[in-house]
């Protein structure tokens, strides 16, 4: 479902998405968007934050009250605060307008994949040379074991179980450190830096973790098919 008040955007998205084999419903208001999410069985919601009738963040909150459908925000250069608010309200990702269809489709696929995990989620994840064994809590690169502290492992686990998703500072702090945390971004920064170093990821040309300054981090490592 596409929720956007601009008919041109709705038309462009409908045409492009249908060309890729998706069934598309388009609506122009937040109210219709919330109703649509309740009544239709949706795989994905593309939501514009600047709707005429409701604040986009409220639309996400209303949808999240009853549905876990993946929501991708289509934003027009909103401030970082708006993005963080939308993500913390339950959005899965955001794509800045104007966007290329390829980028949007990749994000959409990633969000839908996360929403429907395989019945037997693999306990062993492989990203190029990196192997993460979630069952045994073991990590190795190129066959050499990587020693991580419990916090570092917790952070890595948060990343690899939310692949492709933009994780806000606050979300990561709460998930890894606990409910009482949320503003200690410098802890998080230090741990992300150490984790990158231990995993051999270069922040200037990242293959595993990207930084979204002021917002959060995203795991971009691509799962490769696990060797036999």
């Amino acid at each position: 479902m596409v929720v956007d008040d601009e008919p041109q955007i709705r038309r462009a998205l409908r045409t492009s998405l249908e060309a890729h084999g998706y069934e598309v419903v388009t609506v122009g208001t937040g109210q219709e968007g919330v109703l649509g999410a309740a009544e239709l069985s949706l795989d994905l919601v593309l939501l514009d934050l600047g709707l005429p009738d409701m604040d986009g963040t409220d639309v996400i909150r209303r949808i999240r009250a009853f549905s876990d459908v993946p929501v991708i925000i289509l934003s027009v250069r909103e401030t970082q605060l708006d993005k963080v608010k939308a993500l913390d309200a339950g959005a899965d990702d955001f794509v800045t307008k104007p966007f290329g269809m390829e980028e949007l489709l990749a994000r959409a696929r990633a969000a839908m994949r996360r929403a429907q995990p395989d019945e037997a989620a693999p306990a062993l994840l492989t990203f190029g040379a990196l192997e993460v064994d979630l069952a045994r809590r073991l990590v190795s690169t190129g066959g050499n074991p990587v020693h991580l502290t419990p916090t570092e492992y917790g952070l890595l686990e948060a990343f690899v179980t939310n692949q492709g998703k933009l994780l806000t500072h606050q979300w990561l702090l709460r998930r890894v450190w606990g409910q009482g945390y949320g503003t200690e971004t410098s802890y998080l920064r230090t741990y992300v830096r150490t984790l990158r170093k231990k995993l051999g990821d270069d922040a200037a040309a990242p293959e595993l973790i990207t930084t979204e300054p002021g917002v959060g981090y995203r795991w971009i490592g691509e799962t490769s098919t696990a060797p036999q």
Binding site: R77, Q80, L81, P98, R189, R193, A204, T211, P213, G214
Partner: protein, 486 residues
């Protein structure tokens, strides 16, 4: 200091001491002289006179003219009664003793008069010095260009000491907006006693009031106090007027700048927005009419459309940012930020745009955190690096270095392009300025203007240097995160 204060207070209170006090001083001085001179009583008047003269001088110095007079009268009685034979009678035998007494009284009067006058003059000089110092302070303070609230607060505090006030209140209106300042003497709370008010007036209009309050039991306000307070009020009136004019000038300047920006916007909108639009429209109409059949040509047209869309997007984004920065709407959400992390994120994101150049990072290890808005820092870096890449020859190096100096971190981005002549180094930060020689550069002419606006909004500075190899260096400084961010 404490002692000097007391002496001053003593001197200040001398012009109008009550007769009782003046009399007490005079009588005690004369009695003291009598006691000291008693052992020489038998020698006669000649021995006693120096002691009595001393008493008159001391009394005049300490208690003013009245004390001197009282001392002289008591002394002459003492001379007649105790020292002039026949002793213990108010009657004098010898003519020389009568003469001596007479001369003594005249000398005592003259000495008393002179001493009292010099004391009075000294006191006046002290007052004048105090007044001059106060008015001098006010003049400097009022012209300091600080915020009016701050100025009034400091002035109120400065008036306390020289006027011996318990409290000083200043109330002023500036463009319909009221400013109140109050300064209280520290220490135990005093009961408010005498007070004077002086209006703050400009061109016959009362803009406010200065109220000076002394505590109960302190001396009342003299006319010179009042005059000085009125002078202070006139100075304050000038400060209020200045603040009002300053605000108006700022408004006019802002308006002029906005107009200039608007004019520049209009002239550049034509070029910067219509050029990509023209390419897009040309490409799309060619494709729609179906005249371009060659797949390669179709692809080329579509690539142009895509590139021009991106360019248009950049121009619009930059224009919006500039407008927001200029309107003061882009308030930095500052936090302790790791420069390295932001630099690396920007470089990672800009990989596609940086394909034509080699980027080198020279970041000092363990740089301190800076107190900035990370998203805006990202934007500054993006704009400056983009600018460096645009002016680089193919395969040229763009070097980004960062180092900390005292309480700032300096970031330098050097390219190997043609460089910027010293004459143009300020102008590159103007909106829509592009190195005049190459007007068709794909930049928007806004990147550095935005970078400058953001850096300045963070209390930093940005400038251009020449690179040793002939290229340009854009350098900027950002404040290090201190206790403010903790």
């Amino acid at each position: 200091m404490r002692i000097t204060g007391r002496v001053e207070q003593f001197l200040q209170s001398s012009p109008n001491p009550s007769w009782v006090r003046a009399g007490a001083i005079g009588v005690s001085a004369a009695l003291l002289a009598t006691l000291v001179a008693l052992p020489f009583a038998r020698t006669g008047v000649e021995a006693a006179i120096p002691f009595y003269l001393l008493a008159v001088v001391v009394a005049s110095t300490g208690g003013g003219l009245r004390s001197g007079l009282v001392a002289a009268v008591v002394s002459s009685i003492g001379i007649t009664f105790i020292f002039a034979p026949p002793r213990f009678q108010l009657h004098v035998d010898r003519v020389e003793d009568v003469l001596s007494s007479g001369v003594f009284i005249v000398v005592a009067l003259v000495v008393g008069l002179l001493v009292a006058r010099s004391a009075d003059m000294r006191e006046r000089a002290t007052h004048r010095e105090r007044d001059a110092r106060l008015l001098g302070y006010l003049a400097t303070k009022l012209l300091s260009g600080e915020r009016l609230e701050q100025v009034l607060h400091d002035v109120a505090a400065a008036l306390l000491e020289p006027f011996d006030l318990a409290a000083c209140r200043i109330f002023a209106t500036l463009d319909g907006h009221e400013i109140r300042s109050e300064a209280l003497r520290s220490g135990p709370t005093l009961e408010a006693g005498a007070f004077v008010e002086a209006p703050i007036m400009i061109g016959g209009v009362t803009l406010g009031m200065v109220t000076a309050v002394r505590s109960v039991g302190m001396r009342p306000f003299s006319s010179s106090d009042r005059e000085l307070l009125e002078a202070a009020a006139r100075q304050i009136a000038l400060a209020v007027e200045r603040a009002r004019l300053d605000a108006r000038v700022r408004g006019v300047q802002l308006e002029a700048e906005t107009n200039e920006l608007r004019a520049a916007l209009f002239s550049s909108v034509t070029h910067d927005l219509r050029t990509p639009l023209a390419s897009i429209k040309a490409g799309v109409t060619s494709l729609l009419t179906g005249t371009v059949h060659d797949a390669e040509q179709q692809r080329e047209l579509l690539t142009t459309v895509l590139e021009e869309t991106d360019r248009l997007n950049r121009v619009v984004g930059n224009l919006m940012d500039l407008a927001r920065v200029r309107a003061g709407a882009l308030v930095p959400a500052r936090e302790a930020t790791d420069i390295e992390e932001v630099v690396l994120a920007v470089v990672a994101r800009m990989q596609p745009q940086l394909a034509g150049v080699v980027i080198r990072l020279r970041l000092r290890p363990s740089l301190p955190e800076v107190f900035v808005d990370p998203v805006q820092l990202d934007q500054v870096l993006t704009n400056v690096i983009e600018n460096a890449a645009l002016h680089s020859p193919p395969g040229g190096e763009v070097t980004l270095s960062a180092a900390s100096y005292r309480d700032a971190v300096e970031i330098r981005i050097a390219d190997q392009g043609p460089g910027i002549s010293p004459a143009d180094r300020q102008r590159v930060f103007e909106a829509f300025y592009r190195g005049g020689a190459e007007p068709e550069r794909p930049g928007t002419g806004l990147g550095l203007a935005i970078a400058q606006a953001i850096v300045v909004a963070h209390g930093g500075r940005i400038w251009i240097d020449g690179a040793p190899g002939g290229g340009a260096v854009v350098a900027f400084e950002l404040p290090v995160a201190g206790e403010r961010s903790a």
